[in-house]
């Protein structure tokens, strides 16, 4: 005779714990999970004596149900609870069985506030993971680097897997970031696989780490529950780029300019930056319905987000729907998880050219003219009254008269079938069918009245792209506790199929009125359809002896369509060993040491992203008509073969990892310490080929090697743990050192200076070098000479090699773009119904080249080549005239941009039951981007590329939110 037990699971501060698993003791097949508001309802057999409650991030609890039909449980957060189930590649494992370097962040530890893209939820939360947002545009993505990044020219982005569906890293056109389609409210947890023993099961895509995103599930049994949450925000710019005032510009031009330049000066006092930015309102609303209809737990989330950018005309509207069904069949032998997520965005991208133009546009000119032309905006005109060539357009006009409207949509879904064999319940078969489809249509429209398109009759450029990824995984998993020999084995073997198709449509250019541009021809092809395909076999073997000694071995064999016939396949093994020292008799009874585990791992992973799909094939293209060749009286368009590399193969990274997991004082202090060495060989680089061996002298090929070595440390402490009050402190710090070991076919060739990269506005030449012995992206500049007063002398540099000439040989390798140390700190304080938290991040020895100073801090900039312009306040310090080729390559512009940033501070108040107990209400308030402490003189020290040339400012955001559960 079954009976029904119901109740509610909350945390120590009274907040609902959703997604907690509730199972009948000793009968694991009977169970459910809690809903959005922490409620559950479970039918239990009469024999049941107790329920076991567990949830990621909390200690498991056993509660007797004798004589009870209602059970309310308060979970205790323990940052390192060992019975947690952790999602790993192709399956799950108990945290205590982990042998690799795996970090998990769950919803309760996410960053708070107005967060539009998933990866920002864990910024600063995981040691070894650096997440730098690309700027302040709504929905814009981030540069994610796990352990420094193992590539030089190929991609350094980690693989991201959502509910078992590996995402196409390129995303869809028309969306600023491939991850922006995921509703952050749907996310349950992140698992970051950092070392090779954890990630090697993802083989060729794992060299830069793997991020597994798990979304929230449905809930079995019980009535319909409704949850509504809303976050409403106000964003504003915190700081303008420091430039000259109109009066200063007038004074400078009047003192130095020609008569013609003086005549150009206007009388206005326009702060162009003020003109282009706005205080922006945003709202993000989610309605979640969850419950269970018999054996069909479900969860439906409807999301609506409207974000205005702080740059005028920038906005993003996103509507999303997530459907989750988690039915079980055959007495729980077959579990089915169905996740369907879809979102539609409607975006108008502001013309970001206005950001730089607003900084440099002449402040002595007014915003509007008295004319109707050019949308009424003031513009520089030539003698014929047309917008002058080679001059900037009015920044406000650029914004208001560019209509870049895109409508991307994306759906990601999967159906996972997990069957536990009737005759052998230890054996599971798991089939995962997934898809990721997206589509974008959009138009880039500039009216014919706009100054920027005036001479060409405006423009109307359509765009269309579709993408389709298909995933099929199948694996068998066998788990057996063999008590007689104190052993447990857990074996998985599987197959995976991943297909990525893109279809890019080509269009002709049109004028605003729809006429084709006379000089253009229709595209040769209506579309192109690049595709790549991966097929894989994988296996994992876990063995634990006496709960003390753990051994994990994985192997993956990947085949990729991106490589030629003899290099399609690669094998990626890993092995790891862990010793749960705590289980040894000498520690078992220790009160002080509650956990101690030593981990050692080694593995090989690969990397094949960031390269083209067909680099191993040569193809021919027909020359343009200007590049024909005459035989007799007839010009022939020529067929030219492209360079190719039949020998192209995977980049390969070998990782050594040694780690320690610790817990003290009943796990009130927990954490990890990891040392790693990653050695990448066969770097995918664009390198010189032996002359005569290919159709291009430089080809993408596997040459060179690079190391990352580092230390990661995290500590979670709970100095206060009382019934009504608790304080959690989470701190992590990472040290990473990147060293390039070789870049040439002939190792360590002294003739080869290195790989140059990094363009800066106004600089003739690259700023960065990746050279043997140094870190990737090291600044490569001239050493500035200063006068006695410490003022830089324009165009004067140290003659490093003392040959009397200042040339390329006098540049030196300076600091690197990437920080060598970064850390995150998240304090969280609960008191009764109140909760206060914050996230701080710091970064050390990340260097930034101040391109605003170098490009705008000179007289020629202010007086202008054609028109007056504005300059950086740096001009007041240097008095540089400009016009020297080398000055922009001076190390004077290089600054240590170490910083401490408070990402957010948040406060929550749990109102509790309202409306006669029918609903619970929780209120939150958040301030994001609270402050930045830095010596960097530019706008923002966090510049992913290391070259600061007018990034979209990261706004300060004030948000208030409410969660309402019915």
């Amino acid at each position: 005779q079954d009976r029904v037990i119901s109740g509610r699971v909350t945390d120590s501060s009274g907040r609902s714990v959703s997604g907690a698993s509730v199972s009948v003791k000793d009968q694991n097949s009977r169970g459910t999970t809690t809903g959005e508001n922490g409620n559950f309802s479970l039918s239990v057999p009469s024999s049941a004596t107790a329920l076991v409650f567990s949830s990621v991030g909390y200690g498991a609890q056993e509660v007797s149900i004798a004589g009870r039909s209602s059970v309310n449980v308060t979970m205790q957060a323990t940052a390192g609870s060992l019975n947690e189930i952790v999602v790993v590649g192709y399956g799950t494992t108990r945290k205590k069985d982990l042998t690799g370097s795996v970090a998990t962040v769950t919803a309760k530890d996410f960053q708070k506030g107005n967060i539009t893209t998933p990866e920002q939820l864990i910024a600063g939360k995981v040691p070894g993971v650096s997440i730098v947002s690309n700027g302040g545009q709504p929905g814009s993505g981030s540069k994610i680097r796990i352990r420094g990044g193992s590539s030089l020219s190929a991609s350094n982005d980690p693989l991201i897997v959502i509910d078992g569906v590996p995402l196409d890293p390129d995303g869809i056109n028309g969306a600023s970031n491939p991850l922006s389609f995921i509703n952050v409210n749907d996310i349950e947890s992140f698992t970051v696989l950092k070392d090779a023993s954890a990630a090697a099961i993802y083989g060729t895509r794992a060299a830069n780490g793997v991020i597994l995103i798990t979304t929230k599930k449905g809930r079995s049994g019980g009535p319909l529950r409704v949850a509504f949450n809303t976050v409403n925000s106000v964003s504003h710019i915190t700081k303008e780029v420091p430039i000259l005032t109109a009066d200063q510009v007038r004074a400078i031009v009047n003192a130095n300019g020609t008569a013609a330049q003086k005549a150009q000066l206007g009388t206005a006092n326009t702060d162009w930056q003020k003109q282009i930015y706005q205080t922006a309102l945003s709202t993000d609303n989610n309605l979640t319905l969850s419950g269970g209809i018999k054996n069909l737990p479900y969860r439906v989330t409807l999301g609506y987000q409207y974000q205005n950018g702080i740059l005028k005309t920038d906005h993003l509207q996103k509507t999303s729907l997530a459907l989750v069904f988690n039915p079980t069949f055959f007495d729980n032998h077959l579990r089915v998880d169905i996740n369907l997520k879809g979102s539609m965005e409607q975006t108008r991208f502001a013309n970001q050219g206005a950001i730089g133009t607003a900084v440099s546009y002449d402040p002595t000119q007014p915003v509007t003219s008295k004319s109707n032309r050019f949308g009424g905006y003031y513009e520089w005109l030539d003698a014929t009254g047309l917008p002058a060539l080679n001059t900037a357009s009015n920044p406000v006009g650029l914004l208001e008269e560019t209509f870049d409207r895109q409508k991307p949509m994306r759906s990601i879904g999967n159906a996972q079938f997990d069957y536990k064999f009737h005759f052998l319940p230890d054996l599971h078969a798991n089939l995962n069918l997934g898809y990721d489809i997206s589509k974008n249509t959009g138009t880039y429209y500039v009216p014919d009245s706009a100054a920027s398109g005036y001479r060409t009759g405006g423009s109307k450029n359509p765009g269309k792209q579709t993408k389709q990824a298909t995933v099929l995984d199948f694996y068998l998993n066998y788990v057996k506790d063999i008590k007689s020999i104190k052993s447990r084995v857990d074996v998985t073997a599987g197959y995976s199929y991943n297909d990525y198709q893109t279809k890019n449509y080509f269009f002709r250019g049109y004028k605003a009125n729809g006429d084709t541009f006379p000089a253009t021809t229709p595209p040769t092809f209506p579309f192109d359809k690049p595709e790549h395909f991966l097929v894989s076999f994988f296996g994992r073997f876990n063995y634990s002896f006496n709960d003390k000694y753990l051994l994990t071995g994985t192997i993956r064999r990947d085949g990729s369509s991106r490589f030629g016939p003899s290099h399609k396949w690669g094998t990626f093994p890993s092995i790891a060993f862990a010793w749960r020292v705590k289980q040894e008799s000498f520690l078992k009874e220790s009160k002080g040491i509650s956990d101690l585990k030593l981990r050692l791992g080694y593995g090989i992973t690969g990397q094949q992203e960031g390269i083209g799909n067909y680099g191993f094939l040569s193809s021919y293209s027909l020359s343009s008509t200007y590049a024909s060749y005459y035989f007799g009286n007839m010009p022939y368009q020529a067929y030219s073969p492209s360079g190719f590399n039949a020998g192209l193969k995977w980049e390969q990274t070998a990782t050594y990892n040694a780690g320690l997991d610790y817990g003290f004082l009943d796990n009130r202090i927990t954490g990890t310490l990891d040392f790693y060495v990653k050695k990448t060989s066969g770097l995918l680089n664009y390198v010189a080929q032996p002359a005569g061996t290919n159709f291009s002298a430089y080809i993408l090929s596997n040459v060179g090697s690079m190391d990352n070595k580092g230390v990661e440390f995290s500590i979670n402490a709970q100095p206060i743990r009382q019934r009504d009050m608790s304080l959690d402190l989470n701190f992590n710090i990472t040290y990473n050192k990147n060293t390039i070991k070789n870049l040439t076919v002939v190792p360590n060739d002294p003739n080869y200076i290195g790989l140059l990269s990094g363009n800066a506005a106004g600089a003739n030449g690259f700023l960065l070098i990746s050279a043997v012995g140094g870190s990737k992206n090291t600044f490569y500049l001239y050493k500035q000479v200063y006068d006695a007063a410490g003022k830089p002398i324009e165009g004067l540099f140290e003659d490093k090699n003392r040959d009397g000439i200042i040339n390329d040989l006098d540049r030196y390798k300076s600091k690197s773009v990437d920080p060598n140390v970064f850390l995150g700190f998240s304090p969280n304080f609960n008191y009764k119904k109140w909760n206060v938290g914050a996230v701080l991040r710091a970064s050390f020895n990340n260097y930034v080249y101040n391109n605003v100073y170098s490009n705008l801090g000179k007289l020629t900039q202010i007086q202008g080549t054609y028109t007056t312009a504005n300059g950086s306040v740096n001009y007041l310090e240097t008095g540089f005239k400009g016009g020297t080729d080398l000055q922009p390559l001076s190390d004077y512009y290089l600054e240590n941009a170490s910083f401490l940033r408070m990402d957010n501070v948040n406060i929550g108040y749990n109102v509790g039951r309202i409306s006669h107990g029918k609903a619970t209400l929780r209120l939150t308030g958040t301030v994001q981007n609270v402050f930045v402490v830095t010596k960097y003189k530019g706008l923002d020290p966090e510049v992913g590329s290391g070259i600061d040339n007018n990034i979209y400012p990261r706004p300060r955001i004030y948000s208030v939110g409410a969660n309402l559960d019915f």
């Binding site: 192109d528 097929v535 040569s618 193809s619 024909s628 035989f631 368009q637 005569g692 291009s696 002939v746």
Partner: protein, 514 residues
């Protein structure tokens, strides 16, 4: 599902489709030839065949401009005004190194052409033709293209042999893209290879003066043989003057005559000069646009006005040394010096475009002084073709081989003298006695070659043959970086293998002294 691993691009054309028709073969042949005239497949300013890591200014990366830097700019014929990142720094001063851009430019361009030739030779093998069902006249045509590709390859191996001595070697047996490291070939062995190739294709090339204009025939191969035999002692250590005479006779016997008017040689309609031209690189203002080639030789000369040059103005790059100007006397019309606003002495090499005369030898106008036939909208690109071989050179080879080879050469002194007199007569139309200056003597010939062939890509090779390039025997302004000129290390008789290739190919040994 592992079959799906063999994916191919949707729109790209592959070798199979290009080489499925005779027309496709011809368009691939157009690339073989065009790779000497153009920087790449897109147009004049971008997307060069030579990556920007090697030649940072894509517009300057064509064959002839890079070749000209090494052959002419290194001599008394020319100095270069500018010294920015994209300029041929140190070439005139003879201070180049294995890292110099101009050194890499020529080397990699020739290897690019050679790679295209190797590919074409493979694709046009008899086996491939029968596989693709190309037969009859079509197959005969393709066989002829194939012989021409072998000629072009031999020509570029000559370029490499002359400039670099001991380059790596790849022929059609090398599997392109395989990554196998090519072996280095000695200058002597390369000489033998070029000689054997040029002889081997004789049967397949068109008879002299029967092929389409712009395509090589037997006479082109004979001319190149004559040229390498004249320099055989430098290249291989063994003199071959008798062979030079043999091949000069074959060319001359094919019916070429000197074009009557010297000043018409380098004009926009010089494709009409089939009387004298044996093989030319064809440029065209609208269809074959290029910032190098003859466009450089019209735009480059300092001071020359648009009126005179026929293009839209001067780049003020190129001036001549006073020593070179002094080779000409007043009766000789070939100098065609541009002197207005220019001072004769190259007092400064850098930054002063008025120091040194320049020349109007190359003008983008027709014989009648009219507009070039194919002028682009901006009037930027020249229509002038650049002869790689013309009869005047063959006459000069004959004369020099006759002197150097003596009685055993088979050259006839009286005939040699007539050839020199024909050149003098054309060069000195107003001189009542043009023959008075002519001497059948080596000292006369080195100077005469300078006068007749300047800026056409010969000077360095000639000065080396006369042991005047690096020694103190002949000094010109800024030779060795000194205003009055100075001798330099004899290592400069060869250019170094570019450091980029040394980094890529461990089989290579650098030329001595670098």
């Amino acid at each position: 599902c592992t079959k799906k691993l063999d994916l191919a691009p949707t729109n790209d054309v592959t070798s199979v489709s290009v080489f499925s028709t005779p027309a496709g073969y011809k368009q691939a042949l157009a690339k073989v030839y065009g790779s000497m005239a153009l920087i790449g497949n897109s147009g004049p300013g971008s997307a060069s065949d030579i990556p920007s890591q090697l030649v940072s200014d894509a517009g300057s990366s064509d064959f002839f401009r890079q070749f000209w830097y090494l052959q002419c700019l290194s001599t008394d014929e020319a100095g270069w005004t500018y010294h920015g990142n994209t300029d041929p720094i140190g070439i005139h001063q003879m201070s180049w190194s294995a890292a110099s851009q101009a050194v890499a430019g020529s080397y990699y361009r020739s290897f690019y052409v050679i790679t295209l030739c190797n590919n074409f030779i493979n694709e046009s093998s008899d086996a491939n033709l029968s596989k693709r069902a190309i037969s009859g006249t079509d197959a005969d045509n393709v066989r002829r293209y194939r012989a021409e590709a072998r000629f072009i390859r031999a020509y570029h191996y000559w370029v490499l042999m002359d400039l670099f001595g001991n380059p790596p070697f790849v022929d059609e047996n090398y599997v392109i893209g395989s990554g196998t490291l090519p072996k280095q070939i000695s200058r002597r062995d390369l000489f033998a290879y070029i000689e054997s190739e040029l002889k081997a294709i004789d049967g397949d090339l068109a008879a002299p003066r029967t092929n389409e204009y712009g395509r090589a025939d037997k006479a082109a191969a004979w001319s190149l043989l004559a040229r390498i035999y004249l320099n055989a002692e430098v290249y291989s250590g063994t003199a071959r003057y008798a062979d030079a005479i043999t091949y000069c006779n074959k060319v001359i016997g094919a019916g070429y005559t000197l074009h009557p008017k010297y000043k018409e040689l380098m004009l926009a309609d010089n494709n009409l000069n089939t009387d004298e031209f044996i093989l030319a690189v064809n440029y065209d203002g609208t269809s074959t646009q290029n910032y190098g080639g003859t466009t450089l030789l019209v735009h480059g000369p300092a001071g020359v006005t648009a009126d005179t040059s026929g293009l839209n103005g001067t780049w003020n790059c190129i001036r001549m040394t006073q020593q070179f100007v002094d080779l000409f006397d007043a009766q000789d019309i070939r100098g065609q010096f541009y002197t207005s606003g220019q001072s004769k002495n190259m007092t400064s090499l850098l930054d002063v475009p008025t120091d040194g005369y320049s020349s109007t030898k190359f003008r983008n106008k027709t014989r009648t002084g009219g507009k070039a036939p194919h002028v682009d909208a901006g009037n930027t690109f020249a229509d002038i073709d650049m002869p790689l071989f013309r009869l005047a050179e063959i006459y000069l080879i004959y004369a020099e081989a006759t002197i150097r080879g003596g009685a055993n050469s088979g050259g006839v002194q009286a005939t040699a003298l007539t050839y020199l007199q024909q050149l003098a007569a054309r060069a000195r139309p107003a001189d009542p006695n043009p023959n008075a200056s002519v001497q059948l003597a080596l000292d006369y010939i080195i100077k005469e070659r300078g006068r007749e062939l300047f800026w056409e890509g010969f000077r360095r090779t000639d000065l080396i043959r006369y042991n005047q390039f690096t020694t103190g025997a002949y000094l010109w302004a800024w030779k060795g970086g000194v205003a009055s000129g100075t001798a330099v290390d004899s290592k400069y008789n060869l250019y170094p293998i570019p450091s980029t290739d040394l980094s890529s190919n461990p089989n290579l040994v650098q030329n001595p002294g670098y």
